[in-house]
């Protein structure tokens, strides 16, 4: 299902870095011409299929189409992926990703490994990406997969938990939405893949939740 995305963003500034958080599950960091995203779980649908669970493969196609539109929209030159790029062992979905990458020869990809990223280094090299075992620091930003709350001088960006939040209204209304969780010192990205669940447990103290829908982003 390929559709035209409606991209809405909101700027926040942390440690001199101006970050644009969007309703499309990525951050755009203009100064670095970089998209920061997490938890793509490429290969998840095929992994399920291999195990006898028929999941439509269009799941991946849609995710990649969304990423393409974002790259073109922001004129990004870098992808910084904070973990769980690949879901499991090598499968056909990774071939699709490889073929998709050909249209962006100029894009530089950096991956901070997540708990799902367990493929051999040789495979990552096939994708022509730079791989970081646990973290990557760029200026005042520190990028990791799963953040531990520890005092540091940098602003930490992580993913892993697939954050979501409940919005409660009058008349016992409850709406569950994906969100960015942001504090003064850190930020947790929502999962980029649409084939993921949501975790509504609040893990950070004094945290702002930026929830989003197909056509807007707002603080809860």
């Amino acid at each position: 299902m390929i559709y035209k995305m409606h991209i809405v963003s909101k700027k926040i500034t942390r440690k001199d870095a101006v970050l644009e958080i969007t309703n499309q599950r990525v951050i755009f960091w203009e100064a670095q011409k970089s998209l920061i995203l997490s938890d793509l779980h490429i290969g998840k649908a095929a992994h399920f299929q291999k195990s006898g669970i028929p999941i439509p493969k269009n799941v991946l196609t849609t995710d990649l189409e969304r990423l393409k539109q974002l790259i073109l929209h922001f004129k990004a030159e870098n992808l910084i992926i904070v973990g769980d790029l690949f879901h499991a062992a090598y499968n056909k979905d990774l071939d699709e990703f490889k073929a998709w990458l050909i249209q962006f020869p100029y894009i530089k990809i950096r991956l901070i490994k997540g708990n799902h990223d367990r493929l051999s280094n040789a495979i990552y090299q096939q994708f022509n990406m730079e791989v970081f075992k646990t973290e990557l620091t760029i200026n005042s930003l520190k990028l990791v997969h799963d953040a531990v709350e520890k005092p540091t001088n940098s602003f930490i960006i992580s993913g892993h938990i697939h954050p979501g939040v409940f919005i409660k209204g009058r008349g016992k209304q409850r709406i569950k939405l994906p969100c960015f969780q942001v504090t003064e010192n850190q930020l947790i990205l929502p999962a980029f893949s649409l084939f993921t669940g949501l975790n509504t447990r609040q893990s950070l103290q004094k945290c702002k939740n930026f929830a989003f829908t197909n056509d807007g982003i707002f603080e809860v």
Binding site: M1, Q49, G52, I53, P56, K57, Q173, I175
Partner: protein, 817 residues
């Protein structure tokens, strides 16, 4: 065959019974004779009258008369819904066989059977196997399994009424079909309690072209129903409470009787009532136990033995003790709250006074005021001998998909042969060739026809035309997921020092913090740590503890009962002299009468109330929870056609509530069209599509069809990378494969057009012929209050998501000011 009584087989059994001082009941005798004449059939008898011995001895007699017809190996397969029944039945059968002088081996096989015994059985099957539908399917998933079923003379299905109304009934139908395919002469016998649709029950069990018969026991259980009333009506709350004040009435009953079973409707209530009773009467500690499905199996077995041995005065339990072995000492039953159905009420009553000529005694304890009307309704229904139907499931594609994979894991299957086999049984009688082909496609290629999944090789066609599962991993995962009972994700609760206590739902655990105290199995526990899907605890001395809630197990009232309820309510203000329940309720009903209205039999009441929470609409069709769920979303849908709205919906057995944050545009002018019977089915379809109901139904379907892997409690998560939720898969399929048959099944399960259409149309016809009364009440009324406190809610909205959020945020700002 008039000379049946002269056959050697009959003579031997007759003598054996005489020696023991027994004479056969006439229905037993009839069963034996019919069986001898090659009939299949169904025995309808109350518990305690030896229904087991009707079918079991029929097979024995036939064997004694014609031993040449019986080959080595499995002769009789005895299917029962409960594991716990099997053990004692096997004991009784073994004793009988030994005394009669047969060298038959009788064995039990189910989830509790140790591996070494299973292996032994597989090398050499016993003569009689007592098992469950699930275990039979597991046997089908083994290599070379047909050799075991080549010479089966009889398949007996015990407690068929329990299996019939669930997908386990479909598993049973499939199992019979396959065994019958291998042993063409096998006779099929069902044993059931009385239900409303006996003839249908028989036809579902035996859809084949064979001689069938129905044998009804004339013997009847005598039942005393006593309602327990508080001293004053004010002592009973309107709703949402346990009826704790009733405990003082319950204690003397426990002392008056030898052993009392106290039935509650949920595991949560059983835990709470256990605490209430030991608080009221500490002397009972040690003589009272608690029994429900989430308590450790060993503990449950221990309690069951203790009941049999007369060591307990009382047991607080749930439907976990509805069925099962006869507890001789039990002479009294207490039902707390509504039993939700006439058959269940009678079944529970029958657990007391078990021997044939004793009376059963049941006390009905209301937990809130309206339940008193229910007690009056149950009494009336029992008097008029109205018992509800158990409706069989049909076109359960999820079960079919599972069965096909089971066959593929076992010996493999061929298309045409299998279609013929499946198409004969009741559940799939209307299965089209296209639908069957879809299922085959689903397990061989994955999703829809346009898009084969390259990586998907669950079931593969071999050159010889057989469909087989090749991957050992897929075979193993499938075997672990055989069955149709889907439970919430559960965690085991274990003491630090070792020793299991029971299980609680993951959902409940997610709200527990370290150090929190909660109650399980009647003990107060402190949560210390969660590790490997286990909750580690230690004993706690805290007075205040939370009681776990288990989401499963909410049952709707059955339709007959709701019918009686409506009648009772309509003449509630003028009760006849014998209906003490209604007389007792008079003050409360008067309150309803003054503040709103009591609907007469030709009236339909709708109440509108505005509170801080928002705008409420309450309606009272008295059609039972399931129908109300459909009606509520239908009415919500129709109102939202007038003006866009978001509603949260609550329903109980009496009526439903629509709650909105904006005013509900309903008035004297438009109320008739809103509740009209015109365009009913179109509107229902549209409203189901707009609600979350199908997504909820999909939960079980996804598990049964193998789309969601259920982790077994206690097992370490072996397949973490295959975790997903049914909600997620539902969404993905709706997006990419809207024609998936499993989705269609989810919608059908929300609203079974064949089955429920008639009932819904009848309900709306009744409403359209009634006078609709719209009342604006200032505050919650006795009728609306129980709905207000019901916490299970659904949503139905036709508003734009962003607009909804915007308004919620504005409201939040306003609330701050």
């Amino acid at each position: 065959m008039s000379n049946f009584k002269e056959t050697p087989g009959y003579q031997i059994i007759q003598n054996w019974m005489e020696e023991k001082g027994n004479t056969p009941f006439s229905f037993q005798h009839q069963t034996w004779e019919r069986y001898a004449n090659n009939f299949s059939g169904m025995v309808v008898a109350p518990t305690g009258f030896g229904k087991t011995f009707s079918v079991f001895l029929a097979v024995v007699i036939d064997y004694l008369n014609y031993p040449e017809n019986y080959k080595k190996g499995l002769k009789l397969i005895w299917i029962s819904p409960l594991r716990s029944l099997a053990k004692d039945l096997a004991k009784a059968m073994t004793t009988a066989v030994e005394e009669i002088g047969l060298d038959w081996e009788i064995a039990v096989r189910n989830g509790d059977t140790p591996t070494n015994i299973r292996r032994k059985q597989e090398r050499s099957m016993p003569d009689i196997l007592l098992t469950t539908p699930e275990t039979l399917h597991l046997l089908f998933s083994q290599k070379r399994n047909s050799r075991w079923f080549k010479n089966v003379n009889c398949i007996a299905v015990d407690e068929w009424h329990e299996l019939l109304g669930s997908k386990r009934g479909v598993l049973t139908e499939l199992a019979i079909a396959r065994i019958r395919n291998l042993s063409t002469k096998t006779r099929i016998w069902g044993i059931t309690a009385t239900i409303g649709n006996l003839e249908e029950a028989k036809n579902v069990l035996i859809p084949y072209d064979v001689k069938t018969t129905m044998i009804r026991a004339k013997e009847k259980k005598k039942i005393d129903i006593i309602s327990l009333l508080p001293d004053q009506v004010e002592e009973l709350s309107w709703a949402g409470h346990l009826g704790k004040t009733m405990s003082s009435k319950i204690i003397p009953i426990i002392y008056e009787n030898t052993t009392t079973l106290i039935f509650t409707n949920t595991r949560n209530q059983s835990e709470l009532w256990y605490q209430i009773i030991i608080e009221e009467e500490p002397d009972l500690i040690g003589q009272i136990a608690i029994h429900h499905g989430s308590i450790d199996k060993k503990q449950r077995n221990f309690i069951e033995d203790a009941i049999s041995n007369g060591m307990l005065k009382a047991v607080v339990c749930t439907s976990s003790l509805d069925l099962g072995v006869d507890f001789k000492p039990v002479d009294c039953v207490i039902q707390i709250g509504s039993a939700k159905g006439i058959a269940r009420f009678l079944q529970r009553a029958g657990r007391s006074g078990h021997s044939p000529f004793e009376r059963s005694k049941i006390y009905a304890v209301p937990t809130h005021s309206l339940q008193l009307i229910e007690v009056a309704a149950v009494k009336e229904a029992v008097k008029q001998n109205e018992i509800e139907n158990r409706n069989p499931f049909v076109l359960t594609y999820d079960v079919l998909v599972q069965f096909l994979v089971t066959l593929a894991v076992g010996e493999g299957f061929k298309l045409e042969e299998t279609y013929q086999l499946i198409n004969k049984i009741h559940a799939f009688y209307y299965l089209t060739k296209e639908e069957f082909n879809w299922c085959i496609h689903f397990i061989t290629k994955g999703g829809n026809t346009l898009n084969a999944y390259e990586e998907f090789h669950k079931v593969v066609v071999d050159d010889d035309g057989f469909y087989r599962v090749k991957s050992r991993r897929i075979a193993m995962m499938h075997r672990m997921n055989i069955g149709v009972i889907v439970s919430e994700a559960m965690l085991m609760v274990k003491f630090f020092s070792g020793g299991y206590i029971g299980m609680i739902e993951e959902y409940f655990v997610s709200k527990l913090k370290k150090g929190d105290a909660f109650v399980l199995g009647g003990r107060v526990l402190e949560m210390k740590q969660i590790k490997d899907m286990k909750v580690l605890v230690k004993r706690s001395k805290k007075k205040k503890a939370i009681t776990p809630s288990w989401l499963g197990g909410r049952l709707p009232l059955t339709s007959y009962l709701t019918h009686f309820l409506r009648l009772k309510l309509s003449d509630a203000l003028t009760p006849n002299n014998r209906e003490k329940e209604l007389k007792f309720l008079h003050p409360l009903l008067n309150n309803q009468h003054i503040n709103s209205h009591i609907p007469k039999h030709d009236e339909f009441l709708v109440e509108m109330i505005e509170t801080k929470e928002g705008f409420h609409l309450f309606a009272y069709p008295f059609e039972g929870r399931l129908v109300h769920e459909i009606m509520a979303s239908l009415i919500a849908y129709r109102i939202s056609q007038i003006a866009k709205r978001t509603f949260t919906i609550a329903m109980n057995d009496y009526g439903f509530e629509l709650l909105s944050d904006q005013e509900i545009p309903l008035n004297e002018e438009n109320i008739n069209p809103i509740f009209s019977k015109e365009n009913l089915i179109q509107d229902v379809t549209a409203s189901i599509n707009a609600s979350e109901m199908a997504s909820r139904k999909f939960r079980d379907i996804a598990v049964v069809a193998g789309l969601v892997i259920q982790t077994q409690p206690g097992n370490k998560k072996t397949s973490k990378s295959l975790q997903s939720s049914s909600g997620l898969i539902f969404r993905v399929l709706e997006d990419y494969e809207p024609d998936n048959l499993l989705l269609k099944q989810a919608y059908n399960e929300v609203f079974d057009y064949e089955l429920e259409k008639v009932r819904l149309q009848a309900a709306f016809k009744r409403i359209s012929e009634s006078k609709i009364i719209l009342k604006n009440a200032q505050n919650f009324t006795p009728l609306s209050f129980p709905l207000k406190v019901d916490s299970l809610r659904g949503t139905m909205s036709n508003e734009d998501l962003s607009k909804r959020i915007e308004r919620i945020q504005k409201q939040a700002l306003k609330d701050l000011k």
